[in-house]
Subunit: 438 residues, 2 copies
């Protein structure tokens, strides 16, 4: 069973080890925990060090939790917050692709995603429908572009781009008026494919609606040169968005590889957010984003993907790539540039939550936050080292002599979707594998 | 069933698409092929473009193949040569680990591996036994190190290092005298952990036995500095091995990140081989090896892994990392440094075969070569995009509108061990998954 849309119909206690980021540098690993999740999908209590307490006692000592359901880690794994990602690749217009993208991202533990959809209104709305029906928290953007694109994939004018965006906003207002799961996001593709009129109109729309904004910035040097030529009256790529009213605390900027110190200062002063896309930046030889510099300067950074012609559904892989890219930055600029495992996991959870403005609701395990979580399952190597069903066991080998931090590291460096046994969003079970036994 | 050690007891025709590297830049993709493998595990014939010929007709038109077994690609996949890799991480001394390492590498399609075992003779011999019993083609090295190491993990003297190495050679002479599967490999850990006496004695042993040699070279700058201090009479790191008689056409040098032009010229003149370890070089911030320069200068390059405290069992992942590292080299040195998908696959197959001196027997599909192959399985996305059993389907989504080169690329960039449905070495089926139906 791939997806299950049952709501959080009963109070549930999640029992076993859990791990989450408590600061940019620290992961808390609780070996024997209990997290109570209420009917509204919110975390009601967190108990640590309950190793010697049977679950029935635990239930009895919490008023109203006597009959709570218990979901227990069944092997050498742990609960971890769901990943939060931005996906900056235009998606082709097809139900089959949309359904697969959402299924894939869920299966990799992504509980919140920002999507670039397409220029087509109906297809964008279809993606919103699919996310809602599968229970994924999503920001869905209708891509706007009125120049530098082929006729069949372009807005005729700034006006039509706004109309189409408003139509998508209206659709979400109909299917999820309070944005419990789906939020429209204003999406100028990137400066070169939008006229100044289009950018300004989108800026006004953002101001009027208070909706978030996503776009690309400073991905590679030739693009920066192009922007300089196309927008001679602006002082920088950042200035193009700023002057158009597109740079505010709800703006998500993808890539940000080659920003000048002045641009970074502007972005910081507007409290706009950065989505780091290391796999794309390396694959396309765009450059190595100076994430340490961005973080040190106080910018908010999360992780994103942008793979033309496909999609990379794993934010765990993207977090690994963030570490690897930081090593290449360090080869040139010194060891301070290196990101640790903990920092990469922070980017994938708490950082991503801040990028989408949901840091008080998701990205960690705190009382009052939503239960957006994945159950990580790690298999123990058999005594003789043999593998009966290698392809269903998952890639991480635990021998049981590893410390908990080592175990977390093994998952970080070697894990994949096979280790994500189950995924919950707002307390609802949205993805399971054969490893999850209800 | 994870491993099957049946010998190639019947003539077999492998039917369906196959792909292999035909030059450093080119992959041949044959959409409808047939490869006949004889009782000795060697390729007897290759037919291309047999789309409209039923298999019974194919069998009948080959003398003696009328009753041949037929193994057919059962989905949208293809046959691909097994990977050839060097693994430069000391392995802990434990049957459970050895068995798992060999199982894991087989499950990822590695048909030939060079292993660093450990200083312990019995454990090294155990690894040879396990490789032989599982049918993996392996070069097994007893690690020699008589200085700069803790007492419990060190040779007492150059003499004892030689004695121990000879004991391991003798063991292989007993279990596989003709080196059909297992070949001992002389393994000085790396220059800093070996005395000059030890290196020279190993050089003499290599000369006497004609056995191959593996060691590390020029992995990072501090190590190069250390070698310069420890070996003041040698002109370079390369010169240390050269003067010790350890640099010849059967020498495999791991890393080679920071070689000088003079060192590269010496290595080339000795026809010694390079094993590129991109994942390790990045993870440890060692540097980015200039693979394009190595190749352009005529050096032979394959792929290797060297992950302290663990092992990376996927050479497909290592090939991807080779592409990504080449992108970082290109960011500094220009686009010529970029490796293509085809070149990375070449390194993983033909290049690796040349590194271990088996280029006439493995690494591609040619008449007279051994059938060391993997069946790559790619699942087609269902019409509604849903996934019933995501974790067993594998990570590559084929929609059936992809061209064959696109399909190969999807596997290269997104595939993992779930896509390796079955593996053969010398015509023997050594690994299968639930996707392989005999």
């Amino acid at each position: 069973m791939s997806t299950t849309n049952g709501s959080a119909s009963e109070r549930t206690i999640y029992l076993g080890a859990f791990a989450h980021c408590t600061s940019q540098q620290e992961v808390e690993i609780c070996e024997a925990g209990a997290i109570g999740v209420d009917l509204d999908g919110k975390i009601a209590f967190i108990e640590r060090d309950i190793r010697d307490i049977p679950s029935y006692q635990l239930r009895e000592r919490k008023d109203g939790w006597e009959k709570a359901k218990v979901v227990q880690i069944q092997d050498q794994g742990f609960f971890f917050p769901g990943f939060i990602e931005s996906s900056f690749t235009d998606l082709e217009k097809a139900r089959r692709i949309y359904a697969r993208v959402v299924n894939r991202t869920l299966s990799h533990g992504t509980t919140t995603a920002c999507y670039y959809a397409t220029v087509h209104v109906e297809a964008t709305n279809l993606l919103s429908d699919i996310c809602l029906s599968k229970g994924q928290r999503a920001f869905v953007g209708r891509v706007c572009m009125d120049q530098l694109s082929p006729d069949y994939y372009r807005d005729e004018s700034a006006e039509s781009a706004i109309e189409a965006t408003e139509a998508c906003i209206a659709h979400v207002a109909k299917i999820d008026p309070k944005h419990h799961f789906i939020t429209p996001i204003i999406t100028p593709r990137f400066a070169p494919s939008c006229s100044e009129a289009c950018l300004s109109a989108l800026g006004k729309l953002a101001h009027k609606t208070g909706l978030p904004i996503q776009t690309h910035i400073s991905e590679n040097k030739s693009e920066i040169q192009l922007v300089a030529e196309m927008f001679p009256n602006n002082s920088s790529y950042t200035d193009v968005y700023d002057k158009a009213g597109l740079l505010n605390s709800k703006t998500i900027l993808a890539h940000a590889v080659h920003l000048s110190p002045e641009e970074r200062a502007t972005i910081r002063s507007r409290d706009a957010k950065i989505s780091h896309c290391p796999a794309s930046n390396t694959a396309l030889t765009s450059g190595a984003a100076p994430v340490r510099t961005l973080l040190d300067e106080g910018l908010t950074v999360g992780l994103g993907t942008d793979v033309s012609g496909g999609y990379s559904p794993s934010i765990l892989e993207e977090a690994r790539q963030a570490v690897l890219v930081s090593r290449h930055v360090a080869m040139a600029d010194g060891d301070a540039a290196k990101l640790s495992t903990e920092e990469a996991l922070w980017l994938a959870t708490r950082g991503g939550a801040k990028v989408v403005g949901l840091e008080n609701r998701v990205g960690g395990f705190e009382v009052g936050m939503d239960w957006d979580a994945q159950m990580i399952s790690l298999d123990v190597v058999s005594e003789d080292g043999e593998m009966d069903d290698a392809d269903t066991k998952g890639p991480v080998d635990v021998f049981m002599w590893e410390s908990w931090p080592d175990r977390l590291n093994k998952w970080f460096y070697g894990g994949d979707d096979r280790n994500t046994a189950a995924v919950w969003i707002k307390g609802r079970l949205v993805h399971t594998t054969h490893k999850y036994k209800d």
